[in-house]
């Protein structure tokens, strides 16, 4: 069924070069990739191979040098900065390695953050936030500040923040990179449940093989090109 519909993510001939002074670092070279809706993809590769860069490009927080990134039928490389911000707010959920929660806001406040940009009423926001926190199993920690939560719990709050807007794709950059083994396993379970039970399309960067195992597809990036051809 999903094979008949167009892929939700279409990356075409994307290149990216960073310039540091007079030195040009070619990070991505002519990358193309399709991701189907409901997919769970793990991006692996050595440090500095361009994983985060690729993830940032398809999440619309960095811009390509050439090529196109089409998500849900929209070529985001053509959007203005303002339109792109609006697009991200609706379409992408972000999970970072270091959780990136706002320390002065409670778990509730952090999860509410992306909803502030929507037209939802306060009551509707509350319902969404409580729902999201229930999904990640932290309904009872709503009033806790990030500093009062363990790393694993903080990452779960971050996951709740990522899913609360019901985005088209979820991107995760080394979501277990800063966690102990037990917490990491819990987070991975949670992420794969989001994929299996809620049908979320997930693109996850990791260099932990155990994490990658949970994904349905594993891609290896090396020096800016895919080491294996996606099937």
């Amino acid at each position: 069924m999903s094979s008949e519909t167009a892929p939700i993510v279409q990356i075409r001939n994307v290149s990216k070069t960073y310039r540091r002074g007079s030195q040009a670092i070619k990070v991505l070279e002519n990358i193309s990739l399709d991701i189907k809706e409901g997919e769970f993809l793990a991006l692996m590769g050595p440090s500095g191979s361009g994983k985060s860069t690729l993830l940032n490009l398809l999440a619309g927080i960095d811009s390509v040098d050439s090529g196109s990134v089409t998500i849900g039928g929209i070529d985001i490389t053509k959007l203005s900065e303002t339109d792109l911000a609006g697009w991200r707010a609706v379409n992408v959920g972000f999970i970072f390695q270091f959780y990136n929660l706002i320390p002065v806001l409670t778990a509730f406040g952090n999860v509410e953050l992306p909803l502030v940009l929507t037209t939802l009423t306060k009551k509707e926001r509350r319902e969404h936030v409580e729902m999201a926190l229930r999904v990640v199993g932290l309904a009872d920690r709503m009033d806790h500040y990030p500093g009062q939560l363990s790393g694993g719990q903080q990452q779960r709050v971050a996951i709740a923040r990522a899913v609360v807007t019901d985005p088209v794709i979820l991107v995760a950059d080394e979501p277990t990179g800063d966690l102990d083994r037990v917490s990491a396993a819990e987070i991975l379970d949670l992420i794969s449940r989001l994929n299996r039970e809620l049908g979320k399309t997930i693109i996850m960067v990791t260099h932990d093989p155990r994490a990658a195992e949970k994904a349905r597809i594993i891609l290896h990036l090396d020096k800016g090109i895919f080491a294996d051809v996606p099937s």
Binding site: T53, I61, A89, V90, F94, F96, I102
Partner: protein, 385 residues
């Protein structure tokens, strides 16, 4: 609402830093407010002066007198409604340090010309009746505990001798801008005494105060008065009361300019302190702002967070500074009442305080906002961890 809540929480993240910055602004606004009030106090006489009053004095210098006979000629000039006259007496009460302005004036016309000196009718009548009577302002009377009926002796400096006078009234200012520390007695008493001791100095006045029918003709009337005495042995110089008061300030203009300058320097310094605080704050939060941007918040939101915080800090400091300015001005004014009979925090000073705080808050927010907006999200996120 949500962002406002966030701004409030952000402010108290570094309690010490925020607290010290607020303290700095409080002190700056307090100093600024007091300095502005000192400047206002310099101009209090000018502010209180009426645009329908003229002052006529000897064209050579204020210390040369004019014959009292000029008054009849002045009265005949078109536009002149009322003529009063007087002398700066320069008397000392007990000790030199008890300084207050004291004048010998023609009582009826003088009080008529100065409706801002409010006196009960019975006291007025008693003052007019008693040749040796005097009237003092409420502040002055309170300072020395004088009551109507008390005898007060001034030692003359310009007009030597011990001058006994009886208090006949206490005037109140019509509003709070009126100097309530003046002392008037009857010019006739002065003149009669001089006639006996130094006849050549009698029948002379230090100044004429002239009421004109309409402020728009004041300049013309002044010119006509001076024209009338042109080439006489006592030529006159007539100007509006405002101009006359201004000429006093002109003498201390350098001081006023210096005070004004210092008041702005204070604001400038606090601006630098505040800008530094905000730059530090925003630098620490570059990663956080990147998260906001990642989630779809735009430059206006970031600007709102930074400017909001900056303005809130400066306005809290401003509010504390203003709250302290009033008691400080009161204490200051009591201490300096000799130099500044009217020492009041004006509405303009408060408006300038608030404007200064807003300008400080805005300027301090510019650079951090510009930086935070400009930085690419991917670079901002890299700052975390």
């Amino acid at each position: 609402m949500y962002l406002l809540n966030l701004i409030f929480r952000n402010i108290f993240r570094h309690k010490l830093r925020t607290g010290l910055t607020i303290l700095g602004i409080t002190i700056a606004i307090l100093s600024f407010g007091l300095l502005r009030t000192v400047i206002d106090a310099f101009y209090a006489g000018v502010e209180a002066s009426s645009s329908t009053r003229l002052v006529t004095r000897n064209a050579i210098s204020l210390i040369f007198p004019l014959p009292v006979s000029h008054k009849d000629k002045i009265r005949q000039i078109a536009g002149v409604q009322l003529v009063s006259w007087g002398n700066w007496f320069g008397g000392v009460y007990i000790d030199e340090k008890n300084f207050f302005p004291n004048f010998a004036v023609d009582p009826k016309s003088y009080l008529e010309l100065y409706p801002e000196f409010v006196l009960p009718e019975d006291q007025k009548a008693a003052f007019f009746r008693d040749r040796k009577g005097f009237v003092a302002g409420r502040k002055l009377a309170a300072k020395y505990g004088w009551k109507p009926g008390d005898t007060v002796t001034l030692r003359g400096t310009i007009f030597p001798g011990q001058w006994d006078m009886v208090m006949r009234g206490i005037y109140k200012g019509r509003d709070h801008t009126v100097d309530e520390s003046q002392f008037f007695f009857q010019w006739a008493y002065l003149n009669e005494s001089i006639k006996k001791s130094a006849p050549l100095r009698s029948e002379q006045v230090g100044f004429y105060m002239i009421g004109v029918t309409n402020p728009s003709i004041a300049a013309d009337v002044a010119a006509n008065i001076d024209k009338a005495f042109k080439n006489s042995i006592a030529e006159t110089l007539t100007e509006t009361e405002k101009a006359f008061q201004m000429s006093w300030i002109t003498m201390s203009e350098a001081i006023v300019i210096a005070i004004r300058l210092v008041s702005f320097v204070v604001i400038f310094i606090i601006m630098a302190v505040m800008a530094n605080t905000m730059a530090m704050t925003a630098r620490e939060r570059i990663g956080e702002y990147a998260v906001f941007k990642t989630l779809g918040f735009g430059r206006w939101h970031i600007a709102g967070l930074i400017f909001g915080e900056s303005l809130l800090i400066s306005l809290i400091g401003c509010a504390c500074g203003i709250a302290l300015t009033f008691p400080a001005a009161k204490a200051f004014g009591a201490e300096l009442s000799i130099f500044f009979p009217v020492f009041l925090v004006s509405d303009e000073t408060i408006i300038m305080d608030i404007s200064a705080a807003i300008v400080v808050g805005l300027i301090a927010g510019i650079f951090p906002t510009w930086r935070s907006i400009r930085i690419r999200i991917a670079d901002g996120l890299r700052r975390i961890g």
